[in-house]
């Protein structure tokens, strides 16, 4: 249970239209990720699903019934906020119990669910502490615990990991994925980090200025970006986008080639340039290449250790079967 459907949903703040008419369906049990640059309306969209923000027009359906005017508490959704929004004067136990207390769940059942959630989230030792006495990662877990015990039909996450350090973020990412595999509940997850989106999602929704640019599985977006924006947004490092004469040669206004789809050699190749910065990561080497006559810089990702240095002339061979072509409107040409 937990299918969410948006029909022609719009949102304006005063005269400013933040979300133009938008349709989207998230299937039961799906892990959907909203991704897009800052200010594109991800949080607004999530808050509209949660009921914290009124729709300007359109409707929201949850499990096939219209929920447009249903108050947030009655929608059966649980939300995890970026700031965690824990209640600072209550212990962890009370925080987790709060939604159940409001719903009038009996004490024995409350204890059982708190125990289960605390075990799943490694919080058993902290149940009697206040949120102020916890680390960021632990607070995040409490916020998730508070959402789990409600047994919602869908979880909504608004950039839950953005306040955590990189190592912790990777750990929590895995935990949330495992939680999804275990609970099989619908999850909607907002992030501006496309790595999070790629690793966690069943379905990615790429947004720009309130418009859905593309919806699809991570690999669909990677292999077949629908337009230039998605091509540039998904993938790390970013896809090289080249326009001009080189693009015309392939019958397109813009062509794109991912850094990992360019081979480098010292002697011969289709393109050539001068190495600017070389980033040696051990597993990979990233080259930022100038003076190719194609674009400002071309980024190349070579597997393993490749020994070119600043100032070296380098030859590039793009794998032409991995070339993406886009027309004058920025749309993909098949």
């Amino acid at each position: 249970m937990g299918q969410i459907k948006l029909n022609q949903v719009t949102k304006s703040f005063g005269d400013v239209e933040v979300i133009p008419p938008l349709d989207l369906t998230i299937e039961d049990g799906e892990f959907a990720v909203f991704v897009g640059p800052s200010g594109c309306g991800k949080s607004t969209l999530l808050r509209m699903i949660a009921g914290l923000e009124d729709l300007t027009s359109g409707s929201v359906e949850i499990d096939g019934t219209d929920a447009t005017t249903t108050p947030p508490a009655k929608r059966g959704l649980a939300m995890v906020f970026q700031s965690y929004a824990l209640y600072p004067h209550m212990s962890v136990r009370k925080n987790i119990a709060f939604p159940m207390r409001m719903a009038g769940v009996d004490q024995a059942e409350q204890d059982r669910r708190i125990k289960a959630a605390a075990e799943a989230l490694n919080l058993t030792d902290y149940l009697d502490r206040r949120p102020g006495q916890l680390s960021g990662g632990q607070r995040q877990r409490v916020a998730i615990g508070r959402a789990i015990v409600r047994e919602p039909s869908a979880f909504l996450f608004d950039e839950p990991l953005s306040n955590l350090d990189a190592a912790l973020r990777v750990g929590m990412r895995l935990e949330i994925c495992e939680m999804h595999d275990r609970l099989k509940t619908t999850m909607i997850y907002v992030t501006h980090d496309q790595v999070e989106a790629m690793t966690m999602a069943d379905k990615i929704v790429v947004l720009q200025a309130g418009v859905i640019e593309q919806v699809g599985s991570p690999l669909e977006l990677y292999h077949k970006p629908r337009n230039v924006f998605v091509a540039g947004f998904i993938g790390s490092p970013k896809m090289n986008l080249i326009s001009g004469a080189e693009a015309e040669k392939h019958g397109a206004r813009t062509i794109g080639i991912r850094p990992e789809h360019i081979d480098v050699t010292g002697d011969s190749g289709l393109w050539q340039g001068v190495v600017g910065v070389a980033e040696h990561l051990g597993s990979d080497t990233f080259f930022h290449i100038h003076n190719t006559g194609l674009a400002e810089t071309i980024t190349v990702r070579a597997p393993g250790e490749v020994s070119f240095d600043n100032g070296d002339v380098i030859h590039l061979s793009p794998r032409l079967d991995q070339l993406h072509r886009f027309d004058a409107q920025g749309l993909r040409i098949e």
């Binding site: 947030p72 939300m79 508070r146």
Partner: protein
């Protein structure tokens, strides 16, 4: 952060201010203490020598002492209750986005800038006068006999006047506290199924706890010393003689400086007890 040298220079430069403040405080304090152990009647023989703790004993055993303590507590307690309850409500109201918010906020703060003597006189003559007061007209309009506020409901009248003066202070402090509440907490509570009243009691009120403590303690210190409002309205009659007013009467009306000083020392001790609690509460507030 400071070297030995700069620290001693700092002490030297602070010295004049510290000495001035100490003198300002210590001289009256020591004189009060000194007089409290003397029989000192300015118009009836002047300084009649040391008499030990006689003044202290006389002050607390006089028939006026306990009623004055009760009156003091009634005024302090009444004003605190009214200002905290209405302060919270007003703060909630002023925190709502509404038309003319800026002007309304200034209007709410305004009473705080009116001098106590003036506001008490305005209340006495404009509102509470049994013949010409607005309340009298209101009562007459509904066909009731006007109340003689300052004699029939004297304590309540003074509580009302003083509350009116202190409500802005409470509102202001509580409003800033409400504004510092993270709106995501309220939204989380809303999603967790808490209706507005429960959001108030589980989220907003605990958040205001510290601010309410600070309001209560600061007001207590000032309310213990309420004087002008009593002086210009009832003059201490009709059960409105507070501890402060009693001390004033002992010194100036009975011309017994020794006895009044002993009362003053009691008042100092009382105020200090409150001050200790205040320091603790405010200190905790700063730590958290």
């Amino acid at each position: 952060m400071a070297t030995q040298h700069s620290r001693s220079a700092a002490r030297l430069m602070m010295a004049p201010a510290v000495i001035l403040l100490l003198g300002w405080m210590l001289v009256p304090l020591i004189m009060t203490l000194m007089f409290s152990f003397k029989k000192y009647l300015p118009l009836r023989g002047g300084d009649l020598g040391w008499i030990g703790f006689d003044n202290y004993v006389r002050f607390v055993t006089s028939s006026a002492f306990w009623p004055s303590v009760v009156a003091t507590l009634a005024i302090v307690g009444g004003v605190l209750a009214i200002t905290v309850v209405f302060g919270v409500l007003l703060a909630l109201l002023l925190n709502q986005p509404m038309w003319g918010q800026g002007i309304v906020r200034i209007l709410v703060i305004a009473p705080f800038f009116v001098m106590p003597t003036v506001s008490a006189l305005v209340w006495k003559n404009m509102f509470m006068d049994p013949v010409n007061g607005l309340f009298a007209h209101l009562w007459k309009f509904f066909g009731a006999a006007p109340i003689e506020w300052l004699s029939q409901a004297s304590l309540q009248s003074i509580v009302m006047i003083v509350s009116w003066q202190w409500l802005p202070f409470a509102t202001l402090i509580l409003l800033t506290a409400i504004q510092s509440l993270d709106s995501e907490q309220l939204e989380a509570a809303e999603m967790d199924g808490a209706p507005p009243l429960k959001r108030f009691s589980y989220i907003i009120l605990p958040h205001l706890g510290r601010a309410i403590t600070v309001v209560v303690l600061i007001q207590t210190i000032f309310l213990l010393a309420v004087f002008a409002e009593i002086f210009v309205t009832t003059g201490g009659a009709f059960g409105t003689r507070t501890l402060t007013y009693l001390i004033y009467q002992r010194v100036l009306e009975s011309q017994n400086v020794g006895l009044g000083s002993a009362g003053g020392v009691y008042a100092i001790i009382l105020a200090n007890i409150v001050a200790i609690f205040l320091m603790r509460a405010v200190g905790k507030n700063l730590d958290a």
